[in-house]
Symmetry: C2
């Protein structure tokens, strides 16, 4: 079993005076942060928290949370970050599954509902006095490090089992792709309860790069921090890029990489960002791969439009077509193998067996690899429409719809049909002067007949989640309430 010295303590020994953390509350060098973590780990240890204990926390993105996260890591405890946006009803199945020994929350009132977990407030814990200090530890790569619950727009949330080794490999995979500079510093504007935000805290202590942590994304403030704090690295979702581009100035020159996660990014957004000096690059990853495992290099963005990049070493990707690998360019399910792939879902053998197979993660995403090994993600497997035995990829039909000048936005999804099994449905945002005939004629020159939408809904807005992903499941469920624009039989 592989082990490592405690990452934060290592940085405190090697780079004691380097900035580790800055928040609205103050600044911590690695030495300061190590001391606060040693003290807080002592407090948690007095409470009986130790190796393998699951500790839930529902906290704002502040310094206390960072100290907690590193203290739990040092003790070998298991992090269970709770999404602060979820209601008690939504948290209930997570708490049922994780069954944490303790939950740490901020002082704000929160109705835990029928669940009555053992809770402590962070404020009270921080004020506890303890003589114990935990200065060091040995991290075991095979140990469970965190249970991160997938947001799953439908169904019961699953607790992804992230190991210590997953965090380590994720940090190194990023470095191999992006390089590591002594002056690297992150601006952290992502939720800490998602894997993308959590991994940044561990990249920080593995690489020795500081983190400027913001409680939420505010474009003007972010821009100021990029400049004032000499930020080199940034992780964002598309909406944040839009907001930054609305500001007058070009990107500060020290910013060397802005990793774009969440929803697939429109190439036009990336182009616009590059014109303003923002080094935005698309990535691909998920909770089950401990954040991104595929990244496009800055220099490739124009050449490989629409691609998410090349798998980071040593991650391997295969495109599964049944039992064999799909040839270059052919779409299939994206499978991922490598040391940052999680080991399964906590106490969920069925979901684990379904998704993890011989060391491979079946992502449920569809895509293809080009001849140089670059990945393009096309659709979610569950969004695939099978019409009369033919595969229809919603993204392809959406792209065709969006290329029509009268279509402002579009979402394509399957609807059950007695004759075809499924038919292709399209929700479109169109101007009042637009006609269905114009769109249908336009599409017929671009798409095979079996890909043509059989039914159109006219909507005010395409429903999307916080990361910008289209909520197809909701469209499918709500189709009966949508305003039918036209049925292709009538065209």
């Amino acid at each position: 079993m592989s082990r490592s010295p405690d990452w934060l303590h290592y940085q405190a020994e090697v780079h004691p005076d380097r900035l580790a953390l800055m928040t609205e509350e103050g600044r911590w060098s690695f030495d300061n942060l190590d001391a606060d973590v040693a003290r807080f780990a002592g407090i948690l240890s007095d409470l009986g928290i130790g190796r393998g204990d699951r500790v839930g926390y529902r906290l704002p993105a502040n310094a206390a949370q960072v100290i907690l996260v590193h203290a739990l890591t040092r003790l070998g405890a298991v992090l269970v970050p709770l999404n602060t946006r979820l209601t008690a009803r939504e948290l209930a199945p997570i708490l049922d599954n994780a069954d944490p020994a303790l939950i740490i929350s901020d002082g704000a009132p929160f109705d835990w509902g029928t669940h009555q977990p053992k809770t402590r407030t962070m404020e009270a814990l921080m004020e506890t006095t303890s003589k114990r200090r935990v200065w060091d530890s040995t991290l075991n790569f095979d140990d469970l490090h965190a249970l991160v619950y997938t947001s799953g727009t439908t169904g019961v949330p699953k607790g992804v089992e992230i190991t210590v080794g997953n965090q380590w490999s994720s940090a190194l995979g990023f470095a191999l792709n992006a390089g590591m500079l002594e002056q690297d510093r992150w601006l952290h504007v992502m939720p800490l309860f998602h894997v993308g935000g959590l991994t940044i805290l561990f990249r920080s202590v593995i690489h020795g790069s500081g983190v400027v942590l913001e409680p939420r994304f505010d474009a003007a403030r972010a821009y100021q921090l990029l400049q004032d704090e000499r930020i080199t690295l940034l992780s964002v979702v598309p909406t944040m890029v839009h907001r930054l581009l609305e500001l007058p100035g070009d990107a500060p020159s020290l910013l060397r990489l802005a990793l774009l996660g969440g929803a697939p990014a429109a190439p036009s957004l990336i182009d616009a960002a590059h014109r303003r000096g923002y080094p935005v690059v698309p990535t691909f990853g998920m909770t089950e791969t401990c954040s991104q495992v595929v990244t496009l290099e800055k220099s490739e963005v124009t050449l490989r439009r629409g691609s998410s990049g090349h798998p980071n070493l040593p991650t391997r990707i295969r495109i599964a077509a049944g039992e064999t690998d799909a040839p270059s360019g052919a779409i299939g399910e994206i499978w991922v193998q490598g040391p940052s792939v999680a080991r399964g879902y906590w106490k969920n053998p069925e979901a684990t067996t379904a998704a993890f197979q011989n060391g491979w993660l079946k992502t449920g995403d569809l895509g293809f690899l080009d001849e140089d090994g670059y990945l393009t993600v096309t659709d979610r497997l569950k969004d695939l429409i099978i019409r009369g035995g033919e595969n229809v990829y919603p993204s392809e039909v959406e792209a065709a719809l969006l290329s029509h000048p009268g279509v402002a936005d579009a979402a394509v999804f399957g609807q059950p049909d007695p004759e075809w099994g499924q038919i292709v449905a399209a929700a479109v945002v169109v101007s009042h002067s637009e006609t269905p005939t114009s769109i249908q004629n336009f599409l017929s020159k671009r798409l095979a007949s079996y890909k043509m939408p059989s039914i159109y809904y006219r909507v005010e807005e395409i429903p999307r989640n916080a990361s910008g992903k289209i909520l197809r499941a909701r469209l499918q469920q709500d189709a009966s309430n949508l305003v039918k624009w036209v049925d292709s039989h009538d065209l």
Copy 2:
């Protein structure tokens, strides 16, 4: 079991046009090198070389050797680099132990002695035509990658079992310590048959940094290459630093790190190098740790004089004092644990059991850790003198001798003695006007009486190996032939 895509092929996909290799013979991009390796791996494959086959080679440091090394790696074969300085008699026990399926040599005549291995010349192999191309492979981290024989100034050479995972971890450990820049490029002046030279070739393909490979070290030419080829990284032994400092110019400004291996470096040499802009840093490592696992940062050189640095993540070091860890500052045997530690000695269970224990490598070196985890290497365990039950560290007595203005060089070693078990012997290079009494009086103010040399030999020169290490074993063996200067009984 962890795996990785083929490293070189990865770089050819991601950085096809970047410089991979430059030698006197020409320049290769990663794309070119990948193609040459694909072709040569095809030729080797036609010869029946495949996974697990051991292939010896005795070749000059040229492009053909680099192509061979990557081709063998791609095929999953085991590299057995042979030291070109060894005679047939010295190679015999290595060939007995490694029992290679094939040996590849250059065309130069070489008397293989009683051994009649199956040999091919590199020239003939390169000219072979083959339709087969091996473009890709999956590397298994647990596979044996190379048998590197320790030079061992005495005794039978041992074949250190370097795994694919050791190479990977060594490359990452270096990056975590030194950072990784897109423009990184190595000047390679080290022998390719030692682990230090071999690992640079794999750092190159794992990091995507180019290598400018020289067949031998020539200071003036090296200096020119540092400038012309925009070199950022260099690996050297002390003699090379001396030679570079004899040149008129200061270090070219792009050079960001010069790793000093081999013999422990005199702090004065490092100071002199820094004054001239050479970013020389001491390191500690050995064949069994797949090159350096401890490195001092540039900024620490003055503050931590004499230290070799802090263990690279995730390497752990303990100082063994019997069954327990020695406290900070106390000398003991240096033990190393981590993913770059080799798995043992090939077909040598006795030596393996003696040196490897529960995942720890007992290095046979003595040293101490300071309170911040920085290592200082003092002596080889086998050089330790035990006089009447008291430990005497040769390095300490040598330092005291060298601080005497009349002593130009000195080596201290143990000699058997019926009364004390061992006595302290010193070989010194002194001017003719120097007297033993002056030295003995000088030392008596600096050393406890049990550390004082009991016998002095006057020599013209201290015997050292190519890396500058004192050959104490030779001094011990040849003591009867040395010119006795004085016996302390006579003082």
